[in-house]
Amino acid sequence: MASQYFKMNLQVVKETIYSADFRKSLEEANQPSWLKNLRENAFSYFAENGFPMPKNEDWKYTNVAAIGKESFEFGAGTINAPELKKFTYGESAQSQLVFVDGKLNLEFSNVSALPENVSVETFEEAFKEEKLAEIIKSNLAKSVNYDFNGFTALNTAFIGEGALLFIPKDVRIETPIHLLYVSTGSKASFPRLLIVAENFCEATIIESYARTSETKYLTNSVVEIMLADEAKLKHFRVQRESHEAFHIGTTAAQIRRGTIYDATSINLGGAISRHDINVKFNAEGGECFVDGLYMLSGAQHHDTHSVIDHKLPNCLSHQTYKGVLNDKSRGVFNGKVFVRENASGTDAQQSNKNLLLSNDARVDTKPQLEIFNDDVKCAHGATVGQLEEEELFYLRSRGLSEKLARNLLTYGFAEEIINKIEIESIKTELDEAVLNRLNVNLGI
């Protein structure tokens, strides 16, 4: 016990490759002391614990040792308008914030299409307004604490240009709001987003990750979402990092009575990528849809971990994740759904379907449903397999070559998730990305 006591009081923080940049960032930040304290605590945690190790059950199949060995640069690179255009969506041309290597780019950000009482801005801007400062203080790091893991700790330590999206009561926003994170070189960036939506509001957000070059970099993001009664949020997350890059992202949502949180996550990029998505029900009668697709090739590795916690009665959670794995790629799906003793009337559905296109591809899937109440409607399942013979024959009998038939069926398999995205230019982009990978020309 003595050593434990000593350890807890040890104020010395281990030097890491991130130390110097962390101190510099902390000194330069114009932030309230509570936030600086939070950041310091988070950095101490990271310095002490580092990145998670495979011996940690949640990281058993995703070895991030390679990330720990890299020393990334800090600071924003440059991007020009034609380059940027590839990553923006016409539907949100006047409702977008663009972050380049984690720093807000004012030139390309434009939120003029949004109602005046909606706030989409950096924390630094938001702190200037008392009400917004209070909203940040009472919500930041409340859905994901810094000690969730080494990555959330490091992200929290580097909360600099975080962004706040605040939607006041009764505001319904038609225009999708796009938060675009572009990486330009061999940098580390730590996107942080806090979404607070009050009663009865409605919005659609796009959170996308893109790159200008095929380099090795780190994106380590945390998005916290706090939805009040009857709020409806559609959340499209599109991850198209470089195939050399590391992407570790966490989404944590807390929802309430009558809330509908509808998340769709598309994972196409990254050498090693991981997405944690966790939803908590804070009142009866909330609904969430947590769907996603990972499409991997080469030696890509993707891991989706999700936790949906039904603590209260009459909530609904539906989850559909699909994986398409080619070459030597590797996928991991781990979905935990808890239905606690109190949670009568729960409707929880979970499915994970994987299509292996090569003998060397591999997926580890573990859907877990833990139910402690009898009055519930729950189902879960996972499949790993190849295309159906009967479907292949049907297409071939119409004159499609075996290869084309296989690719078209694979496209159809992925489309079930992509079709959820109602924003036409994202859907087109993803269709093209999927078809390109499969070498199918549908003339879209």
Binding site: R396, S397, R398, E402, A405, G412, E415
Partner: protein, 250 residues
């Protein structure tokens, strides 16, 4: 001659189902293949289309002067063989128009003719869809997904209308159809009848033949043709039942 089937023996999983079937089909002809359940009707349809789980044991099928079994299923399709499925397969995530355009263009490529872009193809599709009274809301829907039994069968005939096969094999296209759907499907097939094309109708019941008049009727029992005749044979069969031909066959 378009199709010659000579002493065909075929089966599935080591079980012989067709036990020496011989028949000829000329361009412009409509042949009905009738027979009780298990007589081998659907096996014949699937063997002609090249279904991978059916095996040919012996005999030959000559299509346009060439050995049909030398061709893969997709090569047969591009060469003009079409099977309308008894149970059309659902293809989630792929829209009817995407699928049909791909199939159409594969065929055009094979023929060395011009492929169509989505807009051009849409015009063609709209035109052909009239044949089976389908409206354009079906084009954007996933292939057969959530279609009723009748809609699936109409969709098969739509595919036939788009692909314009030389030899269409309709496998129990009438099964599971109510009287209105049967009429639409049958009228669709009649519109596609022409002197260059042949149709093989595989059916258990005579009622389809009230709508689509065959030139020849072949009655199949235990893997062999046991009776052949004109359209009047179907009526006789309806009256006397399959026991009659089974008795003839044995």
């Amino acid at each position: 001659m378009l199709l010659e089937i000579k002493d065909l023996h075929a089966g599935i999983e080591g079980r012989e189902i067709l036990k020496g079937l011989t028949m000829n089909v000329n361009q412009g002809e409509v042949h009905a293949i009738m027979g009780p359940n298990g007589s081998g009707k659907s096996t014949l349809a699937k063997v002609l289309a090249g279904h991978p789980t059916y095996e040919v044991i012996s005999g030959e099928v000559i299509y346009e002067g060439k050995d049909l079994f030398e061709l893969d299923p997709d090569e047969r399709a591009r060469a003009g063989v079409f099977l309308a499925f008894q149970y059309p397969v659902e293809i989630p995530g792929v829209s009817n128009s995407q699928f049909l355009r791909l199939a159409y263009n594969e065929k055009m490529k094979h023929l060395g003719e011009e492929e169509l872009d989505p807009l051009e193809f849409n015009d063609l599709l709209k035109e052909r869809a009239k044949i089976v009274e389908m409206d354009s809301s079906f084009f954007k829907r996933s292939v057969n997904e959530g279609f009723s039994g009748g809609e699936k069968k109409r969709n098969e005939i739509l595919q036939m209308a788009v692909l314009q096969p030389k030899l269409a094999v309709l496998d129990e296209t009438d099964s599971g159809l109510d009287i209105d759907a049967l009429r639409i499907v049958a009228e669709g097939v009649n519109k596609l009848r022409n002197p260059d094309k042949a149709i093989i109708l595989v059916t258990h019941y005579q009622r389809l033949l009230n709508y689509i008049e065959p030139d020849f009727v072949h009655v199949l029992a235990d893997g062999k043709i046991v009776k052949q005749g004109g359209k009047e044979l179907a009526l006789e069969l309806e009256e006397k039942g399959y026991d009659w031909v089974k008795a003839v066959g044995s």
